[in-house]
């Protein structure tokens, strides 16, 4: 499969770990590590300088933390796809990261095996979550519902919101696009999650991405 070369920025405060990641990605021709950064401020300036397609981002970095950097990347053009690479395996971080627009979440313990897969998945336009975080795939009776009965559960506004979620937009961006407050968007997201029995922003995004076609059809 012929792919465009993905320009990658690695953000981690640990030089040996960064070297490890670089080493892992070395053999892959379509990934080019254009820069590295050790702190949040450095990360932002490197993004501005190199305009990478993708960023692997640690949460626990000095200064501005990874989540803050992730939030700021949404202001950049073009918006880089962010894969969180962290040792935090709490669902709370996972959820928050996807809420803020991350596309992948990789646990450092499994980085050797998961990182390349996640980059591939994100490059294709999907999302990725380390399998070691447990069963994150939404278990829904209607998930493979070809008739799309689940669509009847949602209101028109909620469907619109869901479409934007599928386009990897954060609550703030959706709010701007639909002309409502971020708080309202969050409420809509929460309602959608309750109706579709989804847990957390990552499941919502996964669901939205998977059912994007059905949504657009309706």
């Amino acid at each position: 499969m012929k792919r465009d070369v993905q320009k990658l920025l690695i953000v981690d405060d640990h030089p040996i770990f960064r070297a490890g990641l670089k080493q892992t990605l070395e053999g892959i021709p379509w990934i080019e590590v254009v820069a590295e950064a050790a702190t949040g401020d450095e990360a932002i300036s490197q993004i501005r300088r190199f305009a990478p397609d993708m960023v692997t981002l640690d949460i626990a970095i000095p200064g501005m933390d990874g989540l803050k950097v992730l939030e700021l990347t949404r202001e950049e053009t073009p918006i880089p796809s962010v894969i969180i690479v962290t040792s935090y395996d709490d669902r709370a971080y996972l959820s928050r990261a996807f809420e803020l627009g991350a596309r992948g979440y990789v646990i450092k313990d499994c980085a050797v095996t998961d990182l390349i897969t996640s980059i591939e998945e994100v490059a294709k336009g999907g999302i990725f979550i380390s399998p070691s975080l447990g069963n994150n795939k939404p278990i829904l009776p209607n998930i493979n519902d070809p008739d799309g009965h689940w669509l009847d559960l949602l209101t028109a506004t909620e469907k619109k919101v869901l479409l934007h979620v599928a386009a990897f937009q954060t609550s703030k961006e959706i709010a701007r696009a639909l002309g409502m407050s971020p708080r309202t968007v969050q409420n809509h997201r929460a309602h959608i999650c309750t109706k579709l029995e989804l847990r957390g922003a990552h499941q919502l995004m996964e669901f939205a991405v998977e059912h994007c076609q059905q949504l657009q059809d309706s």
Binding site: I16, F17, G20, S87, D90, Y93, R96, K108, D109
Partner: protein
């Protein structure tokens, strides 16, 4: 400290028991006296007199009755000062026959010698005398001031001739009132009641402050008591009560001056002691003490010799007066200056001496002939003296109030400093833990992670033919994972990294999940209306308390269900943690109660409340409430504590 009205009222209230009696009695009597005097049949006949001045002993009453004087009588236009040093004053009048009058009174002040001759229509002459140089027992009417019985006459008007003599340069104002018998008696009664009340009030003030002097071991109270006693004695002497009760046979001269001097000395001692002038301004202290001591010395000399050495003629008395006046002025000046310099305790001092001085001014304005006699003037000195006593007593109480306030403020500041220090200590401890936690996670955690990845990479180089060595490498990698997990758990326990990044709600959610997710304990967590941003100090406290409680539940409670409710209400965070375990009294160990007490302490340091409710078999409820803005209860330590 600023002067505030509540302070003032508080002081007055504290002294109320003492002052109430004095103030009320003086008020009532001052109000009732003139009414009695005016409403009854007394008659002011001052203006019907004519007068002449003659050298001592140059004329006799008989000669004047016969009209053998060389000088012509002048009519008396009040208010007129009639005394001339070295001369005697003769006054004559004819008593009106309008009503039967029983008593002729020469009120207001005590002359040295007063002689009165009544010439009846039939030519009989009756002679009476009064004045402080005549023995009291010889007076025709036993009364403190000069009063004489008017002989009854049915034939016609009675001529009256008065001779007033003074040995001093004191100015004397003359007044003459005549009284019907019944009114005179009730007037006497009123006066005695008034003097009784006045002296009673002064005595109460003295006794009360004497007790305080003993209790508080403060010599300024002794000065006060001495001063008030001297003041009372002076007033008693000026009113003639002294002759009536103490020296009915006559007394040595100039006692008034001696006691005035002693009073001035004690007053100066009082104000110096009260305002600690000796320490702050020794020059002023010695100067004022010397002047006051000189007044005492002069008064003492006058008692024995009637004349000061090196002072010409009649001016001995004036010298003592000037010294006493200087002491009074010093009293006012030093208290005013101290008050203006910020010593609040001085606020009643200047006021008290002003009260006494103004009453003295009223009195002397009368004796110099600028005012006409009335009952107010007659009692001006007593009212002034009483005001002085009460206000000085207030000043002493005021000082206690102010010192108590200052002490309380200092204690409060100390407690606040302690609280603030404890909070800083806790905050430093948390910071240190965070630093250790982060370096554990970042250095050791990452190093082991990298090591593990390297081991795995080496082992995975040949996945198809796994050698004994590969298996060994994988085992080592697994050991690394275990170490990593231990390090992470330790790091998380030391400091919850989620708190700053995701907020309190997420951190608690995650902690509950960690704690109970694999235990089979059902847990619910409800977080309601919590503000997005809470103070880090508050968040960490809530988190730590709940963390401690969760540990207790896991260790001891044997619970199957746990619920946590957190809600923000009226500027406070309310937290309730319930478990259905075995309860406290059964499960509590030393560790548990110690930990909980420590947590309660942390909650209280932020101005919160902590409550546990537990009984065997009925589970445990732990409730605590924290103000959302604990800065309101936080007082920064005052600058310079460590310098």
């Amino acid at each position: 400290m600023q002067l505030t009205w509540p302070d003032l009222f508080y002081t007055i209230w504290r002294q109320a028991r003492t002052c109430l009696f004095a103030i009320l009695s003086s008020l009532l009597l001052v109000l009732s006296c003139p009414e009695k005097a005016d409403a009854t049949g007394s008659l002011d006949i001052t203006t019907s007199f004519e007068f002449i001045h003659t050298p001592w002993g140059s004329v006799t009453a008989d000669e004047l009755f016969a009209g053998n004087q060389t000088e012509k009588f002048q009519s008396l236009v009040p208010p007129t000062n009639i005394s001339q040093f070295g001369k005697e004053t003769w006054l004559r009048a004819t008593l009106p026959a309008t009503a039967p009058m029983a008593v002729l009174e020469i009120p207001g002040q005590i002359f040295n010698f007063v002689d009165v001759w009544f010439r009846l229509p039939d030519g009989d002459i009756e002679h009476y005398y009064a004045g402080d140089k005549y023995p009291y027992v010889d007076r025709a009417i036993p009364h403190a001031s000069s009063a004489f019985p008017i002989p009854s006459s049915t034939l016609g008007p009675i001529d009256v001739l008065i001779r007033a003599r003074n040995e001093t340069t004191h100015r004397m104002n003359f007044a003459a009132w005549i009284w019907p018998e019944a009114d005179w008696q009730s007037y006497l009664l009123n006066q005695r009641a008034w003097y009784g009340a006045f002296l009673g009030a002064m005595t109460v003030l003295c006794i009360y402050n004497l007790f305080l002097a003993v209790t508080l071991r403060d010599s300024s109270y002794l000065f006060y008591v001495g001063y008030i006693l001297c003041l009372s004695v002076c007033i008693v002497l000026l009113n003639g009560l002294a002759e009536e009760y103490i020296w009915p046979q006559g007394k040595p001269a100039h006692f008034v001056l001696f006691f005035s001097g002693l009073g001035a000395f004690l007053a100066v001692g009082f104000v110096n002691q009260f305002l600690r002038i000796r320490a702050s301004n020794p020059g002023v202290y010695w100067c004022s003490t010397l002047i006051a001591a000189l007044a005492v010395l002069c008064g003492c000399i006058l008692i024995f010799t009637n004349q000061l050495p090196f002072v010409p003629g009649p001016h001995s008395v004036t010298v003592v007066h000037v010294l006493i006046l200087a002491a009074g002025v010093y009293f006012i000046c030093v208290s005013l200056v101290s008050y203006l310099a910020g010593i609040t305790q001085a606020r009643f001092l200047a006021l008290s001496m002003l009260a006494l001085l103004s009453s003295a001014i009223i009195y002397f304005t009368y004796t110099y002939g600028f005012l006409r006699y009335n009952v107010y003037i007659g009692h001006a000195l007593e009212v002034g003296g009483l005001a002085e006593g009460v206000l000085l007593s207030l000043a002493l109480a005021d000082r206690i109030t102010i010192l108590t306030r200052q002490k309380q403020a200092a204690e409060r500041a100390a407690v606040e400093y302690q609280i603030s220090f404890s909070r800083q200590l806790i905050s430093a401890q948390e910071k240190e833990r965070q630093a250790i936690s982060e370096s554990l996670h970042d250095s050791i955690g990452h190093a082991v992670l990298v090591l593990r990845n390297n081991l795995l990479r080496s082992a995975a180089s040949n996945p198809d033919q796994e050698s004994q060595q590969d298996i060994l490498l994988r085992e080592q990698a697994d050991r690394c994972s275990e170490i990593m997990n231990d390090v992470r758990r330790l790091s998380h326990d030391l400091h919850p990294h989620m708190l700053e990044r995701l907020g309190l709600a997420e951190a608690l959610n995650s902690t509950m999940e960690r704690a109970f997710g694999s235990t089979g304990i059902n847990y619910t967590i409800t977080i309601d209306k919590l503000p997005d941003k809470l103070l880090p100090e508050l968040e960490i406290t809530v988190y730590r308390v709940i963390q401690e409680c969760l540990n207790n539940i896991l260790k001891h409670a044997e619970a199957t269900a746990v619920s946590l409710d957190i809600a923000a209400q009226e500027g406070e965070v309310h937290c309730t943690l319930f478990d259905n375990g075995v309860g406290f009294s059964a499960a509590a160990t030393g560790d548990t109660t110690l930990g909980l007490r420590e947590m309660a302490g942390r909650v209280e340091l932020l101005g919160g409340r902590f409550r546990t409710q537990s009984s065997a078999g009925k589970g445990t409820t732990i409730e605590f409430v924290l103000p959302i803005d604990p800065r309101e209860s936080l007082v920064q330590p005052t600058g310079g504590v460590f310098t």
